[in-house]
Amino acid sequence: MRFSKRTIFCFFILLIAFNNCRDEFSFTTLTLENHLVVDGGINDTSGPYFLKLGTTTSPDRPANPLTAAIITITDNHGLKEAYHEVGNGQYRLDGTIVKGTPGVGYVLEISLPNGKVYRSTTEIMPNVPPALDSPYWTIVNEKVISSEGIVINNIMLKVFLTSQLQVSSTSGYLRWGIDEVYSIFPYCPPNAISCPPICYVFKPTSSYNIVLVKTTDYATNSQLSNILLQSQGVDYTFSSEHILNVTQYSMNKSNFEYWTKAQELIMKRGSIFDTPPAKLTGNITNQSDANEIVFGYFEATMQRINRLKVSRGNIPFYLVSCYDYPERLYYSFCQSCEYLPGSTLPQPSWWF
């Protein structure tokens, strides 16, 4: 009750000074539908390389997958290779002919069933030394005060990055991202003849940070210290093993500028410091109608991946699992986890 009595004096300061008075709000607008979305690119690994196609829909829904497109990639040595449709708007390039090589330029071409042809600008894969990353994670208890004045303890997993920037005569443009894979052990009754298989669930990310660095903004041989990459609540996905893939992307300048604008758009919180928003378009255009709006960026990047493992034993409190009752009955994935979105049965080759 101590807080409640003070609320009358404190509440307005919180609201005035820290802009934390936000409410979900239904804002009806016209929607910009059926515009092509391209998401993906090529990198300096041996492949395969993936690309997603979709079309825009309403703001509160993800893009609709776009199927039956014919996609090819051509490098500036004249090599050309086609993508194969995997399903759900995803296409795979095997990399048998065209490989991701630093310093090489790539052009993407997309032909849709309606006859429209789209082409990217030539994307040059940069050739600058990547930074040496040392990511780490930690678990913290964050106290949050609800609008009713109740203190809530949130157990959060935070991923930080420390990275040594490399000396280079040219600017380096870096981006970091995290994707996650966790394992699920479905419930296996005692004395069962066969148990449901273990699943490995791929999860894009749990936070929506875009971390960008232009190396010339930093002093020579600078070390980036303790940059927060991700913050997420600890939930059932940590009930067995959870791997965080921290990927560093080295980009060219125009790709970096694109992501800088994307970062600006997703960081808007409505404060007076927010700049007016605008449409973000990428490097792909309709070959017969240059004014058509196309979203997304076909990128050519160098990648370096660091993997972090969080085991159930690292969590400082008891986490329910499929072996707890009644959870094992309540959660359908405790019987069979194959139907979780992103779930696969084969163990990833890099699992440790």
Binding site: I16, D23, S58, A63, P204, K279
Partner: protein, 804 residues
């Protein structure tokens, strides 16, 4: 003593000394100078000066009435007045808001001089008066769109956090709005914030806000009065295209020491004044300081507990009176704000002003005022992130000289003429790393310099009692100065880093670019009945300095940028037309005013413009046309137990940026609403006096929501949903509604001039939207819209004020 003998004595004194000694109240005074009898119309000129008893400072706007004749006049800026009367006996009354009325019985037989000295009236004795002007001034004043208020009037409005506020009171008047709570500055008749010339004793203020615009930086204990020109702007003012807010601060009491202060929950204030040499030299020092950190420390959220928010301001003035005609005044102002959010970010900004003014009354008709002002504005934005720890600084300095002469002839002519010069010096923008772990590189970008000269003359001419004209002409000349490096761009191409072809270096003091032009100002008043008049005005204004602010509203860290080779001066043509009518013995003032303004070279920004530490801002800016128009309705009740006003404004503010290339167009070159385009605005203010000691006040505010760009779809980039926004400002946030109340008890303690004020700001606790934004909720692959409110509840406050 016989009447004839008294007449003889007084006449002798008048002949010997044209400046009559002050007469005693309620004693019969004979006035006349036989050498200056006006035989042509058998009327004599009664002139004099009205001063404040506290500091002998001339008092402007005092209403002098002649009882029985329903005739009178107002004192001018030098406190001087003139009334023509036929021989006879009269009772003359002088009234001014916040002053004890003064009455004199006079017998006129020739031209004469009668000075008035008016003392301050304590709050407990005040009548409920809602105007600083004579009641019918609104129909007799030649200017359109002019608002005069003094601090006693705004004290009657409900206070925010216990502080009465100049800017918030202006926002209750027609044609004055803001983007929303927490935004600095104010918008007048569809103009941008930087288009308002804010003058404190003649010195320009570049940021008029404390606490991100929640309060203005004008201490109510030091401000004497203020005038907002939003329609016709006299030629003695220039440099901004929308409005002029002219504030005058008080000078110290010449005869005795006085203290004035107030204590609230979050801030306190104290003002001390008094004589240094009695009746010759006085001082006044006033300060406000906030102490809100104790509240932050009481909150359990770690980020909030580690945060800080504070401000202070100081006003100081020393005035020396060499004689009743000759005074010198030195003023100093400093306002400072500091804000830090946990270990994430912070800012501070400081405004300083030093002002020297020399006023001389050269003759009965001729006076002069010289001022020299040095202004300095600094702002810093802090990034406390360990690896990126740095401070981004910017600011501007200026030095201003102005000489204004006022010539008055009879009561028909008042001519202001003079010249001014302002030298603007943009401070370098710097990125300064701090802390041993900061890895950011230091950067510095030099900013531009320029000087502005102007000469002007403006006459107010009363042709007949029913027709008056104010006409003026201002010539302004601006020069963009070296040392600077000017970038050249490929002809026919969009200005960008990629189209740069060359650079040219100009040495220190070299004139790089010159802009100049005439600025005519005209206003006409035509009385169409004893209680009604029509007014019309036209202004042309030029503005050579711009606030580069690519946010929804100005922030303290925005950049003041002078015109250069590429950033052209803004030029506006303002038209207004109004009908003013008073009813029921002037107890009700009503008006309807229409305005139309066309502005060229209005600044807006390219998509994703980067303004900080940018050596070539012109590559990020676009200039185009602006137009605003509207209709203002105003009804004011000036006497009785209930006083107050209702104001309604319908106005639009639109922009058109239609460059040659697609990148130089906004919304494909079509007209679009500005960030502050809020078509409907309704403000209601009411005051009710409850006996002699108590007063109740209330405000009600309604306005259309401001325009925003809304998300119309999204697309994935990796795991992130990127929002896609509509054309600029095509949607609106919900309407703004706010109700405030206050209750004031005077004389809390016996024999003490004090009061206790309770107020509740936003009584309805309405969460008015400031903005709408979009976020990807945890686990979602699409976007959710949120409404951000700056104030989320009713804000009660209590303040104790005392004068002694």
């Amino acid at each position: 003593m016989s009447l004839h003998f008294l007449s003889f004595i007084l006449a002798s004194v008048i002949l010997a000394c044209p400046f009559q000694a002050r007469s005693q109240e309620r004693k019969f005074v004979l006035l006349g100078d036989s050498m200056s009898i006006n035989r042509s119309n058998n009327k004599f000129a009664l002139t004099g000066t009205v001063t404040q008893s506290e500091d002998n400072k001339p008092l402007q706007g005092v209403a002098l009435f002649v009882d029985g004749l329903k005739y009178g006049n107002n004192s001018d800026v030098n406190g001087k007045y003139i009334i023509y009367l036929p021989p006879g006996k009269y009772r003359l009354t002088a009234r001014h808001i916040g002053k004890v009325p003064s009455q004199r019985l006079v017998a006129i037989y020739a031209n004469g001089v009668l000075d008035f000295e008016m003392g301050e009236r304590s709050e407990t004795l005040e009548e409920v008066v809602v105007t600083a002007r004579k009641k019918e001034d609104n129909i007799k004043e030649v200017f359109t769109g002019m608002v005069k208020l003094n601090i006693s009037e705004i004290r009657r409005l409900p206070a925010f956090m216990g502080e009465v506020d100049v800017i918030k009171s202006l926002q209750m008047l027609p044609g004055v709005t803001s983007v929303g709570e927490g935004s600095a500055g104010f918008n007048v008749r569809g103009g941008r914030v930087d288009q308002n010339l804010v003058l404190m004793d003649g010195g320009q203020i570049f940021n008029s806000s404390h606490a991100l615009g929640l309060l203005s930086n004008f201490n109510p204990d030091v401000v004497q009065d203020f005038t907002l020109y939003k329609g016709n702007i006299p030629a003695q003012f220039g440099g901004r295209v929308s409005s002029v807010l002219e504030l005058r601060t008080r000078t110290g009491d010449m005869s005795k020491y006085k203290f004035k202060g107030g204590l609230g929950l979050l801030s306190g204030r104290l003002t001390v004044e008094g004589p240094i040499i009695k009746e010759k030299t006085s001082f006044i020092i006033g300060s406000r300081i906030s102490y809100s950190d104790w509240v932050l420390r009481a909150v359990q959220n770690t980020d909030v507990r580690n945060s800080a928010a504070s401000f202070y301001d100081i006003n100081a003035n020393i005035t020396h009176r060499f004689s009743q005609r000759n005074s010198l005044s030195l003023s100093y102002y400093k306002g400072h704000d500091y804000f830090r959010f946990s270990n994430q970010f912070g800012y501070d900004y400081t405004t300083q002003l030093i002002n020297l003014r020399w006023k001389v009354i050269l003759s009965e008709k001729f006076s002069s005022e010289f001022s020299a002002v040095s202004g300095d504005y600094n702002s810093k934005l802090f990034d406390f992130d360990i690896a990126n720890a740095r401070a981004l600084t910017n600011g501007i300095k200026y030095f201003q000289l102005k000489e204004n002469f006022l010539y008055t002839y009879q009561e028909k002519h008042a001519v202001n003429f003079g010249a001014e010069a302002v030298f603007y010096n943009g401070k370098p923008e710097k990125s300064i790393p701090f802390g041993s772990n900061s890895t950011t590189a230091g950067q510095q970008v030099e900013k531009d310099r320029g000087r502005e000269f102007a000469a002007y003359a403006n006459e107010e001419y009363t042709v007949t009692p029913g027709l008056s004209i104010s006409g003026g002409l201002r010539y302004s000349l601006y020069q963009y100065l070296g040392a600077d490096t000017v970038y050249h761009y490929q002809a026919g191409q969009v200005r960008s880093a990629n189209s740069m072809t060359d650079t040219a270096y100009y040495s220190n003091g070299a004139v790089i670019k010159t802009y100049q032009g005439l600025e005519p100002r005209v206003s006409i008043r035509l009385a169409i009945s004893p209680n009604g008049s029509l007014k019309a005005s036209y202004n042309k204004m030029r503005q050579y300095i711009h606030l580069i602010s690519n946010g929804t509203a100005p922030t303290p860290v925005d950049i003041w940028q002078v015109s250069n080779s590429y950033i052209l001066p803004q030029i506006a043509n303002n038209f207004s037309l109004g009908y003013f009518r008073n009813t029921i013995d002037n107890d009700f003032e009503t008006s309807i005013e229409a305005f139309y303004k066309l502005t060229s070279n209005l600044v807006d920004y390219k998509d994703f413009a980067h303004l900080l530490l940018n050596r070539h801002l012109e590559t990020e800016l676009l200039q185009g046309k602006g137009k605003s128009y509207g209709l203002e309705l105003f009804i004011k009740k000036t006497s009785g137990p209930w006083t107050g006003w209702i104001s309604y404004t319908y106005s639009r503010s639109l922009l058109k940026i239609d460059g040659t290339h697609p990148e130089e167009k906004i919304n494909r070159g079509n007209w679009y609403p500005s960030n502050y385009d809020k078509p409907n605005n309704l403000a209601i203010t009411a005051n009710h006096k409850l006996g002699k000691r108590m007063r109740f006040s209330t405000n009600f505010n309604y306005s259309t929501g401001r325009p925003v760009s809304a998300v119309v779809t999204n697309f994935p980039a990796g795991s992130v949903a990127i929002p896609v926004y509509s054309d600029r400002n095509q949607y609106r946030i919900p309407s703004y509604i706010r109700l405030d109340i206050s209750f004031t008890i005077n004389s809390v303690f016996k024999k003490v001039d004090d009061n206790l004020s309770f107020s509740i700001y936003n009584l309805l606790g309405r969460r008015n939207a400031y903005s709408v934004y979009y976020q990807q909720p945890f686990g979602s692959d699409a976007l959710q819209s949120y409404k951000l409110s700056i104030l989320g509840s009713a804000l009660p406050s209590i303040t104790y004020n005392i004068n002694f």
